[in-house]
């Protein structure tokens, strides 16, 4: 999911940076300061999740968690993910500094999209409906991220369909796992602390 420095062209990098700055600005304006501890915990979860590789078949995958972050934070996902991505670049060498804007947009924008897409469904009193929308949110955010990554690569010269196919197929297992994890997390949250999902708004 992390595109590295040197893979994208300058206009793509600049566009990504501008869009991310806009996203972060909206996120900071929407940020309710009582929400800060929650933002911190989710940001830290994302930071660590990319490092914990779960063995799957012959390869390994790691969780992205942008779906869950989007469902609980909405636009605030932008600043939360930007901080985590910045620290990942510093500590783990994931991605890079020049591509930070593109990476932040590719991961945070899908989070915002699933927030609007699944918001209604999560407010249902039916556990099953909540679980389904959680799965949709988790898998959908990962799916959208792969498409955004493919698009960034395509705009820099890679053939879009090929790039999209490769990244999409490679991430199918992650989408499934992500869907399950987010679904389970959302059901748990809706039981024990529904206000985190904005249900009480």
């Amino acid at each position: 999911m992390h595109i590295v420095d040197g893979a994208l062209s300058a206009p793509v990098l600049a566009t990504g940076a501008v869009l991310s700055i806009a996203g972060v600005a909206i996120g900071l304006r929407k940020l309710d300061y009582n929400q800060l501890p929650q933002v911190g915990v989710l940001s830290a979860a994302f930071f660590v999740a990319s490092y914990i590789h779960l063995p799957l078949g012959f390869s390994s995958v790691h969780l992205i968690l942008n779906g869950l972050i989007g469902l609980t934070l909405g636009w605030v996902a932008f600043p939360a993910l930007l901080v985590a991505l910045l620290l990942q670049a510093v500590f783990f060498g994931f991605g890079g500094f020049l591509v930070l804007g593109v990476n932040a947009f590719n991961i945070a924008m899908p989070a915002v999209l699933v927030f609007y897409l699944c918001r209604k469904g999560l407010q249902s009193t039916n556990q099953r409906t909540v679980a389904i929308w959680g799965v949709v949110g988790g898998a959908g955010a990962t799916c959208a991220t792969t498409l955004f990554v493919a698009l960034s690569l395509a705009l820099s010269g890679d053939a879009f369909l090929l790039a999209a196919k490769v990244t999409f197929i490679a991430h199918i297992p992650i989408m499934i796992i992500e869907g399950f994890v987010t679904g389970a997390a959302v059901v748990l949250i809706s039981k024990v602390k529904p206000e985190l999902l904005g249900i009480t708004d």
């Binding site: 911190g40 510093v90 500590f91 783990f92 499934i176």
Partner: protein, 192 residues
């Protein structure tokens, strides 16, 4: 239950390589022979047939090689210059490495060529000032330290628990600053 079975089957069908990882690799000079390997941080190696470009500082192409099925590639340096090695592994994964000129033997560019080194030892080769002997020593030492360099490279890429805890600490610290600022604002507003 049906849903679970469906997902399980889908999951087992999808054991494809997920390259959502860092690109790692090393390039080692053993005399004039340069060997390198490219892989991912999860232990997978680059796919066979990946094109590796070797360029000089001005971007002019020196040679083009391909990785084998274990992510290895090799070429022979002919000049003692910085070699810029680049490979695009697709999906935003690129490998960039600069092999500095001083890792290549001094003899490159001078009269001694690879063939000369491979020639049978004669008495004059044992002369410590012989260029051939120098090349042979350089080659032997490079070969010996190669595994060490490889290990060092791997070690550098390893993320320690400290790094992870440090990152989490930064995030919580930032939140703390945010909360402090928010509270200060509230206090000021309350007072004003």
């Amino acid at each position: 239950m049906k849903m679970h079975t469906f997902f399980f089957i889908l999951l087992s069908l999808c054991l494809v390589e997920a390259n959502a990882h860092n690109v790692l690799g090393g390039v080692y000079a053993i005399g004039e022979d340069v060997e390198g390997e490219i892989g991912f941080s999860n232990g997978d190696m680059a796919a066979a047939g990946n094109v590796v470009f070797v360029r000089d500082a001005s971007g002019a192409q020196i040679t083009v090689v391909e990785t084998d099925d274990e992510g290895f590639f090799a070429f022979t340096a002919t000049q003692r210059i910085d070699h810029y090695i680049f490979s695009d592994l697709g999906s935003g994964h690129v490998f960039n490495y600069v092999l500095p000129a001083d890792e290549l033997p001094d003899s490159l560019g001078s009269i001694v060529t690879v063939k000369a080194v491979e020639a049978v030892l004669s008495d004059s080769d044992l002369d410590p000032h012989s260029a051939q002997l120098k090349v042979m020593i350089e080659k032997a030492v490079a070969k010996q330290i190669r595994p060490l360099r490889k290990e060092l490279n791997e070690y550098k890429e390893k993320v320690s628990l400290q790094d992870m805890l440090g990152g989490i600490g930064y995030i919580f610290g930032l939140c703390g600053v945010g909360i402090w600022l928010a509270q200060r604002n509230q206090k000021n507003n309350g007072a004003g």
